[in-house]
């Protein structure tokens, strides 16, 4: 068993309106005060991040931690659960099936379902697993963590010999750890007996048994999921196997769950309701926390000096560190600036203008850590290498400038540097870069977090020393992640740099082999980074056990800079009401509120 597998899933942030912070905070606090009673627990959502999608087979625009872990997972539990308290490991107890059994030299997987039930009384069966798989196979292109040739392509056939058994036949043998932590971890059984239809009044049956049928079912369910206003009333979404059912939901993300009385997991909910409270900014959330209307919230880094005061108000502080890395992507396929981004020397020049230690100290107030490569260096683990932790490209403005001048650019500090020596030679600008090309870029970053704005302003200022003009704009989280989508070279592939502020938290690819975000063709490889050596390194981690192949992959990629690394903040500095017991903060960022209890 690995020491620390953790997850990455893109930290969800989303947002609505970038403003009225104090007013909104006050309103939010007042709105929830009545529910902060002995029977309700109010959990503060990250600033400007809201749940906005209920159907688990979703595209990248909705693939956020909040949607995955704080929203959907409370109703639809994944086949395999990861995280044992704070330990980021496989959790057999909370999984809906027994651990997979391998046979046929590792090419066949047999999964035995446990005796879970849907809220309509029907059992969670192998058919529900195949229902999910059918839709996934039919719609692989929308699946954010899909990589061509990998899951579900590598499942060449599947069957359900009986209601409690699923059999997958693979195209070849894989590392069992990688298969469990990164592939089977993607499965969420869905209620086929209620959802397998193509219209509201359609007949429920094995419609998803064919590719065309599965596409029609997925299309129907997607259309239903896009009607956010009906989430709490649509009968489809009331058939759940998780510990909660949705009682209230509105477009602001305000969510109220009530216990699912039919939940057949090991621990039943012991309180009346769970409220997910959205906030537009971290300052707004903090105001609500000070007002005592949040049971489980967070203190913004800039207000961390107030932790003793919050302690006196009955809150216990606990930093929540995610198994994640932070970066912002460059769009390699942008027809104008893509050729510049493809030059390693240019990415190095940019990276050497990111002063991560200072960012951590001054913008994050110490509640974060640098990102120097594809594997998190915190929490402490045996997967990140000394080379990565040593920072291959430390802050060095003079070296950054020298990299540009030595590659054919005339650097104009404070102005705009231009390519004056085009060509593909070692001292020239590089392929596809014309004479006169300017280092002038657009970067959109997410609103809500103060530190993101600080870091981006500092980066703009630093890059100006190289004559790199960064045109900053800001937008809500959901807008940023929707914009940062992989695209093919062409006029419509126009975004240049997008920063949603929290990079990637590893999940459901819990083992940080990076195929979801860095392998060619991955659905969530936003910038379309492509490197054959990196692809080969990644693929080696899929079939060869042990850490040596992982080290080789990460050491190489840390120096290749597929994106621009930036400091990784703690997921949050949690403030938990002292009467709220049973809370464990998994570095995988999922949570199990059914374990929470309110004491007097």
């Amino acid at each position: 068993m690995l020491n620390l597998f953790h997850k990455p899933v893109r930290v969800a942030l989303g947002a609505l309106i970038a403003s009225s912070s104090l007013v909104a905070a006050g309103a939010g606090a007042l709105g929830s005060s009545a529910s902060a009673s002995t029977t309700n627990i109010t959990f503060a959502l990250p600033p400007a991040v809201t749940p906005n999608y209920i159907f688990p087979v979703m595209g990248a625009a909705y693939y956020s931690n909040v949607n995955l872990y704080q929203f959907q997972a409370e109703m639809f539990r994944p086949l395999y659960w990861f995280g044992n308290g704070a330990s980021p490991t496989f959790n057999p107890t909370l999984s809906l099936a027994q651990a997979p059994v391998y046979s046929n030299a590792g090419k066949t997987i047999t999964i035995k379902m446990k005796s879970y039930k849907w809220s309509n009384g029907k059992p969670v069966t192998s058919a529900d697993v195949l229902f999910f798989m059918d839709m996934l196979k039919a719609e692989t292109k929308i699946w954010p963590v899909y990589v061509p040739g990998e899951f579900p392509d590598n499942v060449v056939s599947m069957s359900a010999p009986n209601a409690s058994t699923v059999v997958f036949n693979l195209d070849k043998a894989y590392s069992t750890t990688w298969m469990l932590y990164n592939e089977l971890s993607q499965i969420t059984p869905l209620p086929a007996a209620a959802w397998d239809k193509t219209s509201v009044n359609g007949t429920v049956g094995n419609n998803a048994g064919t590719t065309a049928g599965a596409q029609a079912v997925w299309k129907f369910l997607t259309a239903q999921a896009q009607t956010v206003a009906t989430y709490a009333t649509n009968p489809l979404w009331q058939v759940v196997d998780g510990p909660f059912k949705l009682k209230q939901f509105d477009s602001t993300g305000h969510t109220v769950f009530v216990p699912n009385p039919s939940y057949s997991g090991p621990v039943k909910v012991s309180y009346g309701s769970l409220t997910l409270q959205p906030f537009t900014t971290d300052a707004a959330e903090y105001n609500a926390l000070r007002a005592g209307t949040v049971d489980y919230g967070y203190v913004p880094p800039q207000d961390s000096g107030q932790i003793p005061l919050l302690k006196s108000q009955g809150y216990n502080s606990s930093p929540w560190i995610g198994w994640s890395i932070n970066y912002f992507p460059l769009n390699y396929n942008n027809p104008t600036v893509g050729p510049i981004f493809r030059q390693l020397y240019f990415r190095q020049a940019m990276q050497e203008m990111v002063n991560q230690p200072t960012d951590v100290k001054k913008a994050l107030y110490g509640y974060g850590y640098p990102t120097y490569g594809p594997v998190p260096i915190e929490p402490k683990n045996n997967l990140s290498t000394p080379q990565e932790a040593a920072n291959p490209y430390p802050f060095n403005p003079s070296k950054s400038k020298a990299l540009l001048t030595s590659h054919g650019w005339t650097v104009k500090p404070g102005g705009t540097s231009t390519c004056t020596n085009p060509g593909t030679g070692p001292t020239q600008c590089g392929a596809g870069i014309a004479k006169g090309a300017a280092l002038n870029f657009n970067l959109q970053f997410a609103t809500g977090y103060t530190y993101v704005s600080q870091e981006m302003q500092q980066l703009k200022s630093n890059l100006a020393q190289d004559g790199i003009q960064l045109n900053l704009t800001s937008a809500p989280f959901n807008t940023v992640i929707a914009t940062a989508a992989p695209c093919k070279v062409g006029p419509s592939c126009s975004w240049q740099m997008e920063n949603w502020g929290q990079g990637w938290s590893y999940g459901p690819d819990y083992y940080p082999t990076g195929e979801s975000i860095f392998e060619t063709g991955s659905g969530i490889n936003e910038g379309s980074y492509s490197n054959p050596i990196n692809d080969a390194n990644i693929n080696a981690t899929h079939t060869i056990s042990g850490t040596a192949v992982l080290y080789k992959y990460e050491n190489y990629l840390a120096k290749q800079l597929p994106d621009i690394w930036q400091p990784n903040p703690d997921f949050q500095i949690s403030e938990i009401r002292s009467t709220l017991k049973g809370v464990s903060q998994s570095s995988l960022l999922n949570f199990t509120p059914e374990y929470w209890k309110l004491s007097k």
Partner: protein
């Protein structure tokens, strides 16, 4: 009175008559000035406005700071040597930033107010002069626009259009002209029935002559007073936009954005990010309002000593 000093040929009078008639006009100017000078709040306002303008436009020549490059390592430092009012959350000197931020606030405020004043005066004068269907249509447009929440529309525009000083000026003026239009339209309804306007018509003078040479000059008091208030309103609106995150993006500065940023650190106790700029906004707006009040009194004939 301004109507007797105009240069229209139909009011041909000899030099002696002009001399006699100009004297009362000068006397009225003196009376106006006297009423204004006697208003102590207005005088204080003028002094404060002058000081603030000097602070914003002359200050940076004497107090040199870097308001372009950030320095995160030097962020959120309290007042001390080198930074009398401390630094903000990206390391800008707060005192210097207040100067730079004030420049854009004052420039946009005055520009928007003048633009809105000119357009509003023309709109209102035309509507009032012609009356009838023209007046009805033009004023219903004004009514319709007045019913739209200004801040809401400005926030929407700020989200759709790149925010810069020029666009902000236009955006603020887009809604600011409505009030002067209504005021001048009311004035025009009164003035158009005066003998000198009727005389122009009788002698074949056109609408433009009546409006530009008789009506507008006679409504100058209302116009000046309103523009003064418009400046104050525009600066306040800019501050509100900046506070809500829709000001001119960094490294440009404005007072509203500075205040908004400072409020983020209210619990951290970084008072230098809040009080100085907050006081500056209040002082500027209050002073402009004092001046506007005093001008209104000064133009009121009943308050002038005879």
């Amino acid at each position: 009175m301004s109507d007797v000093s105009d240069r229209s040929p139909e009011t041909a009078i000899d030099n002696a008559e002009v001399s006699q008639l100009v004297r009362p006009a000068r006397r009225r100017g003196a009376a106006l000035l006297q009423v204004f000078l006697e208003n102590k709040l207005a005088m204080a306002g003028v002094v404060i406005i002058v000081l603030i303008v000097l602070f914003c436009f002359v200050g940076p020549m004497l107090y040199h700071t870097n308001q372009v490059s950030t320095n995160l390592a030097n962020s959120n430092n309290g007042p001390g040597a080198g930074h009398p009012l401390g630094t903000d959350n990206v390391g800008y000197d707060v005192l210097g930033r207040m100067m730079v931020g004030g420049q854009s606030s004052i420039e946009i405020g005055f520009a928007a107010a003048i633009l809105a004043g000119v357009f509003g005066v023309l709109w209102g004068a035309v509507a009032g002069y012609f009356g009838g269907i023209v007046d009805s249509i033009m004023m219903r447009i004004v009514d319709a626009m007045l019913s739209i929440p200004t801040l809401f529309v400005l926030l929407l525009m700020a989200a759709l259009v790149k925010v810069n000083q020029f666009n902000l000026t236009l955006a603020v003026a887009l809604f600011a002209w409505l009030v002067p239009a209504r005021l001048i339209r009311g004035e025009t309804l009164t003035l158009r029935s005066r003998e000198y306007v009727q005389a122009v018509k009788a002698m074949g003078g056109g609408a433009s002559r009546s409006i530009f040479e008789h009506i507008v000059p006679n409504a100058i008091g209302t116009i000046v007073v309103n523009i003064t208030f418009q400046v104050a309103d525009a600066i306040l609106l800019l501050a509100a936009l900046g506070y809500l995150g829709f000001g001119i993006p960094p490294p440009a500065a404005n007072w509203g954005s500075m205040l908004s940023q400072g409020v983020t650190y209210i619990y951290a106790g970084y008072w230098w990010l809040i009080y100085p700029v907050g006081i500056l906004i209040v002082l500027t707006v209050m002073s402009l309002n004092f001046v506007g009040d005093a001008l209104r009194d000064a133009f009121d004939v009943r308050l002038q000593r005879r």
